[in-house]
């Protein structure tokens, strides 16, 4: 086992462990903090994959913006951050079944792919990952359409949020 694999295993364990804590802990603020730990673990996985840009964006967007909004919402709406209701839904086995099915499906896909057992080739020196990503997102031959559709969707959500919150006199 290489050092990289050991680091990956530790990070994966921490990520999964904190993800487990998110759904089992009773205190909502603690759940939000465990979620932050989970998202951080994902960022570390990105960094291990040589995707520094994605790792940093993960921290900015998910930890710096989305998780903090969760904490705001919990703090502003609940007097008691402790949840006393049942922690499982009566249809929990359907969810478990779906999770196992998607895990098996993904495993089958990855194991069936010939590249899954090969080590990743190192990036050539001077490779401008950020520039390549930016060009891929704005070039009409690549992903400009999905990118623009996603941004229009976000704009619509923003307008919708303002409309819902707007106080009509």
């Amino acid at each position: 086992m290489t050092a990289e694999q050991i680091v990956f295993l530790i990070v994966a364990l921490v990520t999964l462990g904190s993800a487990f804590m998110v759904v089992t802990t009773r205190n909502l603020i603690h759940a939000a903090l465990w979620l932050v730990a989970t998202l951080f673990g994902v960022a570390v996985v990105y960094a291990l994959l040589n995707a520094g840009f994605l790792a940093v964006v993960q921290v900015v967007v998910y930890i710096g913006a989305i998780a903090i909004l969760f904490i705001f919402a919990v703090m502003l709406t609940r007097k008691d951050a402790r949840d006393s209701g049942p922690q499982t839904h009566k249809n929990w086995w359907v969810g478990a079944l779906l999770a196992v099915a998607s895990y098996l499906g993904l495993s089958a896909l990855v194991l069936g792919w010939s590249g899954s057992s090969k080590a990743a080739a190192g990036l050539p020196s001077g490779f401008d990952a950020v520039g390549q990503l930016g060009e891929a997102l704005t070039s009409p031959n690549a992903y400009v359409l999905p990118f623009e559709v996603a941004s229009v969707l976000l704009l619509a959500a923003l307008v919708g949020a303002v409309y819902v919150a707007f106080n009509r006199k």
Binding site: I29, G52, V56, V59, I63, G64, I68, M75, V130
Partner: protein, 371 residues
Amino acid sequence: MDWTFWLEWVLKGFVLCLVLLTGFAYLTYYERRALARMQNRIGPNRAGPQGLLQPIADAVKLFFKEELTPARAYKIVFFLAPIVTVVPSLIIAAVIPWGTSFQLFGRTITLYVADINVGVLYLMSIASIAVYGIVLAGWSSNNKYAMLGGMRSSAQMISYELALGLSFVTAILLANSMRMIDIVNAQSSWWFVVIQPVGALIFWIATLAEVNRAPFDMPEAEQELTAGYHAEYSGMKFALFFMAEYQKMIVICAILATLFFGGYLGPFVDKFWFLGPVYMFAKVFILLFFMIWVRATWPRIRYDRLMSFGWKVLVPLALAVVFITATGILLAQELNNQLYFWAIPFVSIVAAGIAVMMIYRELRRKAYERA
């Protein structure tokens, strides 16, 4: 990857932390002395020659202060919050270059801890983590004033982060890179503050709000707002918040110097490597003086005005400035005419002037309505 490589990293990180911690202690002294001069007082001058031992006396005092934990506080989070505030203020400095490099024992030692290709984004991400300490401190104190203070400060930081990010974008556009070293080297002929003065100004205002400094220092408003998120903290835990604030001041001045004031560049820096840290120190020192000056002269801004200034003035202005910069660079490139490039500062200043005019008219209108 031999062991000397790791040793170099650990040593550099250690030295950086040490510099920041000492810098924090003497920044408090510097601030008190400079403020005192501006207010026609003397300031601390009793401990040691010229009061130079004052920070040490302060530290000793804080160690022996009683530390209270409120009975109904959320203990773990209450304990964690100061740590979560201090750590980002230290690790954010990792990507700032303090100089070029020098030879020691046949190795090239560079004067920065990490050189990552998304350095500017790293700064953004660490700045966004810093909000957690404040939110959690306010919430875990189990005190409504502390919680409202935490909400206030974090809402302020999140709002001004947008303008801050957009002013980063102007520097990235001008340097055509997100790596801090490239940004410094791109300023070898002209500092970016000359090409984009409005971007530097927006950065300056937004960072004052980010580090909760005057005139945006709501947590200091004991009389009218019952202080802020640290109302329940005392002793060393309080000192940690204080430390984070001052370290952030130093780091943010270093970032401003790197992005807009040429970083470690200066005359003869390519011949003598040790001049790099000296220039950097001088620039940070001068910028810190401006921060203290602002604190001495400006009254605190009201909270609702702070928020509307951030959202209605700074963010649109920053967007306009980014647009102007990008257009100028593109036109200069496509039409092969440097005139367009040099139009950037003038058009930006005109945009800033329009923004100031609009604030002025708005305030006049409000005064008229009240009368």
